[in-house]
């Protein structure tokens, strides 16, 4: 997973608000769900950025905006220097060749009425310039082989495969256009644990083979740790902590990250005794009406007056080596194990 340091994705101040409207004919906006609210990060070629956070924190919306499936309210998504968020028509279609997606649910992400060959070959039907017509069958079979499926199975339908195999089909489809970036939106959370490992290993092997960059969205911290070079922790539409995987896991600085890590199941009974449990009170606030200042302050045990008045910026803070968005950031090893 060596990164070459070549930047291929730059996300700046990305905001996605979904308007809340009232009335049927005379719609008027009475507010907005602030699903993604000012997210910035970079991604290098061949690198994996893990994005973690609890349900409803805006991870999947972020993925949709990156894929240009949703238009951002503001901000930019620069892929190789061009903004996909503003691209249209033919340019957008060309840019899509560079960023593809592996979806969460292998049972609904494949059209049940298309053969595997059609599903994996569809990218070539859409982007006809990528592969000449006579070449497609061979390319599809190659792709199936690359993801560890039998290339003779092109005429089968998705229901004839297991969940893990279906996810491999989804990965093959994502690879077809030879993108540089693949957005994985919880690619293993619908699979059995044993199959999860296979799919993760496949993703890692493909990364080495094709020098892919991954945006790896998940709520399973151990999976993210396994595959990621860097990790961003999201809470209510904002990145609260961003750093190398070792920094995030061993020296978390933000109280929310510490709380998340303390909830990771520890397989070792000894370690289980040692680690501390931080149990957060209450539910995450509504993204339509987030708290002032620091969004985490309503559930934070460190919260003081400044947290309500001043929003902590994502920056490197004293005593830490990576960016965090907390006025009282201090590293604290929660897990206490290797």
């Amino acid at each position: 997973m060596a990164t070459t340091g070549e930047r291929i994705l730059e996300v700046r101040d990305l905001v996605k608000h979904f308007p809340l409207t009232q009335g049927i004919v005379m719609k008027r906006q009475i507010g907005a769900i602030k699903a993604v609210d000012g997210v910035s990060f970079d991604l290098d070629r061949g690198e994996t950025l893990g994005i973690v956070g609890e349900s409803g924190c805006g991870k999947s919306t972020l993925a949709k905006v990156l894929m240009a499936l949703e238009r951002p309210t503001s901000g930019s998504v620069m892929i190789n220097g061009r903004d996909i968020a503003k691209a249209k028509g033919g340019e957008l279609k060309r840019m899509r060749r560079n960023i593809q997606m592996v979806m969460q649910d292998p049972y609904t992400s494949l059209n049940p009425r298309m053969t595997v060959g059609d599903i994996v070959g569809e990218p070539y039907d859409i982007h006809t310039e990528v592969a000449p017509k006579g070449d497609r069958l061979r390319k599809v079979q190659e792709l199936l082989e690359v993801v560890g499926l039998n290339p003779d199975h092109i005429n089968r339908y998705p229901h004839q495969f297991s969940g893990g195999q279906r996810q491999r089909i989804g990965i093959a489809r994502g690879l077809a256009l030879q993108p540089e970036i693949i957005v994985c939106d919880e690619p293993v959370s619908a699979l059995d644990v044993s199959i999860q490992a296979q799919v993760i290993n496949l993703l890692e092997r493909l990364q080495n083979e094709f020098n892919l960059a991954y945006i790896f969205i998940a709520h399973d911290l151990s999976v993210v740790r396994h595959i990621s070079d860097r990790v961003a922790v999201m809470y209510l539409g904002k990145v609260v902590e961003l750093g190398k995987d070792i920094e995030i896991y061993d020296k978390p600085a933000h109280p929310y990250t510490q709380a998340l890590l303390s909830a990771v199941p520890v397989p070792d009974p000894e370690g289980r005794e040692q680690r501390e449990r931080i149990i957060l009170q209450g539910d995450p606030p509504s993204p339509a009406n987030p708290p002032s200042g620091c969004r985490f302050r309503t559930r934070c045990w460190k919260a003081q007056e400044i947290c309500a008045t001043e929003e902590p910026l994502l920056q490197i803070r004293t005593g830490t080596q990576h960016e965090s968005a907390c006025h009282f950031a201090e590293t604290h090893d929660v897990v206490h194990v290797g």
Binding site: S109, N111, R113, M114, T115, L137, I195
Partner: protein
């Protein structure tokens, strides 16, 4: 279903194939039938040819179609000729040469049933096709596009839904009576009144399909609107439309009968099954056969189309193969 049990392949972590090497691998020599790229419709046709239900319905429909276009092949008696009806023999039971007996006017029931097939089948089939295509395409469009397109088309269908069907058909047929459109006026009237149902079913099915991940995946690939509509949404929304269309077919033939009974639609001396049933039911207790035979033909027609619809629907669902 697949013939082999599905086993998760062992991840080939140890394999060090680069892409070029994969290209260089010679294709396996034996690829029994899988070498031919399959498609949904091709596979469906392949499957249909093996379904007895489909074969039976196809044969029945073929016979009925031949009957409607060349009725003289089936009957030596021409029911339109005045000489073939004898009032004196009205409601006579089956006899040699008149296997189905005679009706209230002393006409041969068998010949009339054969010659009545054309109007009934043409009305049933064309109305079904028109409603399925018009309602289906509009429903597909409304369901895919959503927003204003959906709102406008949905409100328009609600206007049509509000028209009481028999009254509406009476109005339409009465209005265009002077145009001399023959049975087509019945087709037009029934189509105008029936397409909203197909529209709604298609729209609902499309909306269900639209929110599925594979549609999002297609959009992420840059698929055009029409590709999403016809490759992804239509095949996944077609099943309920096929079912309702084939069930409606019988309804249309029956509705034609109702219109004939009310004095619009097919009129004597023209023949249709609906008209025959309407004529015969006054004397049903005395002479049931003039009603029973056209009714049996009507049922067989409806059954054949429903069977065919069922077979096609099943063949288009890979899970049911």
């Amino acid at each position: 279903m697949s013939d082999t049990p599905q086993v998760e392949p062992v991840p080939q972590e140890t394999r060090t194939l680069t892409k070029d090497q994969v290209v260089a691998t010679p294709p396996p020599v034996k690829r029994p039938k899988e070498a031919r790229p399959a498609s949904l419709w091709g596979d469906a046709w392949h499957d249909l040819r093996r379904r007895p239900m489909f074969i039976v319905s196809l044969v029945l429909i073929a016979i009925l179609l031949v009957m409607s276009f060349w009725p003289s092949l089936f009957s030596s008696i021409d029911p339109f000729s005045a000489r073939t009806c004898e009032l004196a023999t009205a409601r006579q039971g089956p006899s040699p040469g008149h296997l189905f007996g005679r009706d209230n006017q002393g006409c041969d029931v068998y010949a009339r049933t054969i010659y009545g097939a054309r109007n009934s089948i043409v009305i049933g089939v064309t109305t079904t096709l028109i409603t399925a295509i018009v309602g289906g395409l509009l429903g597909l469009m409304a369901g895919t596009r959503g927003g204003v397109v959906d709102t406008v088309t949905s409100r328009i269908t609600e206007i049509f839904f509000a028209i009481p069907s028999i009254l509406g058909a009476l109005l339409i047929t009465a209005t265009f009576r002077d145009q001399d459109l023959g049975i087509w006026i019945v087709v037009i009237a029934l189509s105008i009144l029936a397409w909203p149902m197909t529209f709604r079913i298609m729209r609902a099915a499309v909306i269900t399909a639209r929110s599925q991940d594979f549609v999002i995946a297609a959009r992420a690939l840059g698929a055009s609107q029409s590709r999403i509509m016809f490759r992804h949404l239509l095949p996944n929304a077609l099943a309920p439309v096929i079912v309702i269309a084939t069930i409606n077919l019988g309804g249309f033939i029956a509705a034609e009968a109702a219109l004939s009974f009310l004095g619009v639609g097919v009129q004597s001396p023209d023949i249709s099954w609906g008209l025959m049933i309407a004529d015969a039911r006054n004397r049903f207790l005395e002479a049931p056969l003039p009603l029973v035979f056209p009714a049996v033909f009507l049922s067989i027609t409806v059954l054949a189309f429903i069977m065919m619809g069922d077979a096609v629907r099943d063949a288009l669902d890979p899970k049911l193969r």
